[in-house]
Subunit: 285 residues, 4 copies
């Protein structure tokens, strides 16, 4: 499925700063970049780099600019792999590939170590990892209200589990924390999302189940097969659209994700999956 994604962000620069931007679509076996443009105005020097997980970053020094406009646009071909839940084998911790191990541990916004008893009480009796994650996703959807502006940059899963209000970031953090508490590797996913209303970057989470990183969205705001991956990481700390080292603040942002020409899209929605339905591996990476 081909999507045309774009982002345009204005930044105000308080003083000379460094930035790491993360808005390029990831490139992988399940996500091919057909074409792509990136620019910064006024011009500043920048470098692109990829981390070991395939995330692509742009690093720049604002020099003496006081304002910057960043533009990214791409056509991306995304392959989604739909699986029958009852055919997903559990992967015990002792059989995990080692790159998955850090995703078992607590991180800044996902304090799985503090949610252990609650996670086991609520979800421990479910049989398979897939059942557990489906139920976690449903529980978050049913118990946490999506309220724009209700949380801030320090809100973590430990808060959201009690305060029960948040945005996509908070929903994802709570999902990740609960999964890790149950010994299921879980990571944060950011990307562009087709038909997301209002248009914005989106965050959800992935779990490593049966050898694949399967995507879950407790907000139910995105089509599971309508996601174009930017980055994955332990939580939002790793995958900020802009990590700022100095003083830079966004003043305007425009994000879009449209269907490529001649594409026929049949949405797969979280709420239609059913407890033993299917899930989607957005990446087998």
């Amino acid at each position: 499925m081909i999507f045309d994604v774009a982002a345009e962000i204005d930044y105000a620069v308080g003083f000379r700063s460094a930035m790491i931007l993360s808005l390029h679509a990831q490139e992988s076996s399940s996500q091919k970049i057909l074409k792509e443009e990136f620019s910064i105005e006024p011009k500043v020097a920048f470098t692109e780099f990829r981390d070991d997980h395939g995330n692509r970053f742009v690093r720049l020094d604002t020099a003496n600019r006081t304002q910057l406009t960043v533009r990214y646009a791409a056509s991306v071909d995304c392959i989604f792999d739909v699986q029958r839940a009852d055919q997903i084998a559990a992967t015990p911790v002792t059989a995990l590939d080692h790159p998955a191990v850090p995703y078992l541990f607590p991180s800044r916004y996902c304090q799985s170590d503090r949610l252990g008893k609650l996670a086991w009480d609520l979800f421990g009796n479910l049989e398979t990892p897939h059942d557990k994650v489906m139920k976690i996703t449903e529980w978050i959807h049913d118990n946490v209200d999506y309220v724009p502006g209700s949380t801030n940059a320090v809100t973590s899963a430990y808060d959201t589990v009690t305060q029960r209000v948040g945005v996509c970031r908070d929903f994802a953090h709570l999902g990740i924390a609960l999964c890790r508490a149950l010994n299921i590797p879980a990571r944060y996913f950011t990307g562009y999302a087709y038909e997301l209303q209002p248009p914005d970057f989106h965050a959800c989470f992935e779990c490593l189940i049966g050898g694949n990183w399967m995507v879950f969205d407790a907000t139910r705001l995105a089509h599971l097969n309508g996601l174009v991956r930017i980055a994955t990481g332990r939580d939002a700390a790793d995958t900020a659209v802009a990590s700022v080292f100095g003083s830079v603040n966004p003043t305007r942002m425009k994000v879009s994700c449209d269907l490529g020409r001649n594409q026929h899209f049949v949405p797969i929605r979280s709420e239609k999956l059913g407890p033993r339905g299917v899930s989607i591996a957005a990446s087998a990476d």
Copy 2:
């Protein structure tokens, strides 16, 4: 410098569990394993693996054991690289090698995002990254009391900066958080420590300065050139001696780190380094 390290730990197993052990000495260009033994009694199947950072782990399933004794012993040749502080160049964020980037971000126990203003107020005016880290290390030593048993598994840098009491783990977390808040990559270091009293595993931290990961110990309990590295990670969450997925608790632990035969050891101590003295790169990895 050659050290003979050993650890022997008894674990009580509550029910069938998985474990990831981290007590093997790391193997790298600056740390060579001369000989090594590892055993688990009663016998259980286990596998060794290394992560991308050279950390070595043992993964096991306790099966039906109710008690396990884990033994590790090694002779390790450690190369320390002493540098003059005034010759250490600063590395701007825009010039960092990409594997260092995650060490700029907050993690479970090192909430650098919440310590920003304090860090800049206290240390922002110091000229070089090395000066900043030296001063941070000194400040922690002067303001935080080392009290065994004073903290627990959920204590984080955000607590320690105010409560001002802790153990080596807490000293390291606070150092890391303050460094990251100042845009200096910092990571958690665990290892064996020569002449540590009482003998135990030790934790301190490393900062990437001038192209090297340099080691700092705010507890001043270890010789900087008396450390045998087990693992590095974002914080203690990544580098636990035993990450338990189930119910396993240590009941007895014996750790030692002795000088190899015919080794002549001249200690390098944190408190002797001076504000513009030297630091030690335990690894250039």
Copy 3:
């Protein structure tokens, strides 16, 4: 019902300190002191005072003592007032007597302001305040494990609601926080408890419903009609057995609560009350 209560506590004094002790039985229309003894050894000067709520305190200066033994013993006649739940009228906030108002607000260990949505989601649909508190008490009992030593002096309701483990103090704090979040005045109760195993001081909580402060015990460890009140307050911060201003630590403690001679005791237990059963007003104060 007459109870013979006693407490004997040894304290080690680090340096000259002030202390406020709270272990005298409260004196009120529903709790009469028949006889009473109090002593401190070695002798130090002390004064007794009562606050506006009838709590009785002893204030002392340790002077140059390095060790103190405090002894209290009393025979106390407690009147319990059993009510039918379906005859308890709700008291709207606008009709509360003003001394009850502070018990609507959050306090150190009872952050009702952060538990609002959760409290309303879980208990908001129950019809009467009494139903709500009964269900809260049951929910805590069912979801929080009573584990001696599992928490510490900084643990609060905000932690317990997620960590789901604690001691009587934590059970009480969580009950209070949830009630206040639902606009039901709630306060912390400390006292002696008949047949509590192991013998100790006990904490539970009271809610102002239908004009009476009714007692609830989410631990279900005490008989509701086996309680001898020491003090009430907003939370444990107000009612510590010993508030220390300096350095004083308990080294031994012995607490007892026995039935007075010729008393016939028919226990009333939390778990027997039923959702629309009866509750006990230990004080109409």
Copy 4:
């Protein structure tokens, strides 16, 4: 000194709710109400009450109103009592009047129990309680930035001591927490403030020193002798302008505090007091 104070607040009512308003000037021996008007439009029934500390509240039920405008205006004669700091005697805990005792304990936003070591490290060596509080006030002023909108309703002293940014409420909470940690009774003060820019309600704190509650303002935004007291309490939880039990939100607020006719005002400012200067007892209550 006579001040004319006024407040006018519009509230939007989401659904039928109860409210407790706290915007009446307190009446005491040091603060006399010369004249006063209070109204709610559209008309709803309300009752006034006073708590044991002289705080005056208005309690109301919004009934079916969807919008309310509350107006208060008064002329208030405030007596300020200036004292020489070197003549203020210390009051040991053992000599405190009992109503002051709760102000020694931690509260919702003032976790003095967690700030103990920091408080003693920074201020413990100062000789008198007055010196300690003066230095605390200065330290907060020097280390915490006043930034409107930087904090929210859950921000507490434990946060502010590290995050070092806040509004008057946060400055007051931190001052109170540090004082209580040093065994100095401290309470939250809300009121009208002459020449406060921009005009608003103001919060600062009072300490019981030498038998008087003396006022301190770490923001240095108010004249110490330009304050008209509304209420005191343990912290902001006790003294909210509007405590809402339901759904009511302010949509517009206008606050003023002018000098009465023919009054001659000589400001007394925090920064002019000097380390051993004078302080102001706004109330001997």
